[in-house]
């Protein structure tokens, strides 16, 4: 009985002591201090994020500018092969300035102008295939001939010549096959 009383007394004592163990109150000013530190941390966080944002923006702009430069340089440096050829041809076709000919402008200016016109024409031409070209000498002669010759003669000229008499006779009599006749014609020619 005495032991039980003693046990109970100890229990009560311990309960009372433990209830006081963590019953401390925060000192005045702690709340202000904690709130101030939270606000400061939030501001610092905001500034840090803003700083990071700026760095991201700068990085993104740099990447875009670099990409644009790479694209432009690759297109500018590697000109179109056709264009290159045309430019070369235009340079070659530059009319040399005649000696003693004082035209409306300086010879160099004219040659540059001519080259530019050639390049421009070539650029237009490359859209059409086959590319139209100026008439050759043979074509010009043919046109001249057609223009100055009567129509009947032209028609007569356009028909092929009849084969020689001996070959025609052989064909008619059936002595040669068609292959042989062709061969004989070729040998005659």
């Amino acid at each position: 009985m005495a032991d039980q009383d003693k046990e109970k007394q100890l229990d009560d004592l311990l309960d009372s002591l433990l209830s006081h163990y963590a019953s401390a109150e925060p000192r005045p000013g702690l709340e202000t201090r904690v709130l101030a530190s939270i606000r400061q941390a939030r501001r610092a966080e905001k500034v840090r994020w803003m700083g990071l944002g700026w760095w991201w923006a700068v990085g993104a702009v740099t990447v875009v500018v670099t990409a644009a430069l790479i694209v432009f340089s690759s297109y500018g440096g590697r000109s179109h092969p056709v264009k290159k050829q045309i430019q070369r041809a235009a340079q070659q076709r530059t009319i040399p300035a005649p000696k003693g000919d004082f035209g409306p402008g300086p010879a160099i200016g004219r040659s540059v102008k001519h080259a530019r016109r050639q390049v421009h024409l070539a650029e237009v031409k490359k859209e059409v295939f086959p590319t139209p070209a100026p008439l050759s000498q043979q074509e010009k002669l043919l046109l001249r001939y057609l223009a100055g010759t009567p129509r009947q003669e032209v028609q007569a000229q356009s028909h092929p010549d009849p084969p020689p008499d001996d070959v025609a006779f052989a064909n008619d009599s059936g002595l040669f096959s068609s292959k042989d006749s062709n061969r004989s014609i070729r040998s005659n020619q």
Binding site: Q9, L18, A22, A24, R27, L30, R33, L35, I38, R42
Partner: protein, 200 residues
């Protein structure tokens, strides 16, 4: 007190549902409403006003840091209490070892025994005496960590054994067992001290 607890719970719930823009303000509200509980948890572990205040501040800064995870929290109150508890434990572990062990070494020194009140005094007077409180603190300090930690948390009035179990991430039954063992040890030691004081 109960009203404050309800307000605190409301703040925790609103913190859970608020968006990122307003969470900073919600943390401030939470700090002002749960300051006492957090302070008591820190105090029960650190037993020093300065250290407890530093731990409270650090605790709420941690809350601010992990505010994005608040929507994953099932019980915001124990979440906050756990942050406070771990912060205080970290702070205590950072303290120099000699500073921590000095309390244990001086526990049963003759000076301490001489300062004990007369056990024949009524309970109220015994408890009111600062000497017995100091002895209890030292006795708790001698307990092993697994018994001391739930006992320190149980001393905080705002927490029950289920919440302590959630904070410590152990079963509630284990908490109750450990509390019982801790109390038995304390009673034994206390009885010995009082007996020594009584007989001379």
């Amino acid at each position: 007190m109960a009203e404050q607890a309800i307000l605190g719970d409301a703040a925790l719930t609103s913190l859970k549902t608020s968006d990122a823009a307003t969470r900073g303000q919600e943390v401030e509200i939470l700090a002002s409403q749960h300051m006492r509980m957090v302070f008591r948890i820190c105090w029960s572990i650190l037993r020093n006003h300065h250290d407890a205040e530093d731990a409270v501040q650090e605790c709420f800064l941690r809350v601010l840091k992990f505010q994005d995870r608040i929507h994953e929290v099932r019980n915001p109150k124990t979440w906050l209490a756990r942050i406070a508890w771990t912060t205080a434990l970290d702070k205590r572990s950072r303290k120099p070892l000699d500073e921590r062990s000095s309390a244990k070494e001086n526990l049963l020194e003759q000076d301490s025994l001489e300062s004990l009140p007369d056990p024949a005094l009524p309970l109220e007077q015994l408890v009111a005496g600062r000497e017995l409180q100091a002895i209890l603190e030292r006795l708790i300090g001698t307990l092993p960590d697994e018994l001391r930690e739930p006992l320190e948390l149980s001393a905080v009035q705002e927490l029950n054994s289920t919440e302590i179990a959630e904070i410590m991430k152990i079963p509630a039954e284990s908490v109750r067992t450990r509390l019982f063992r801790a109390r038995q040890l304390l009673k034994t030691k206390l009885a010995v001290l009082l007996e020594v004081q009584k007989h001379g």
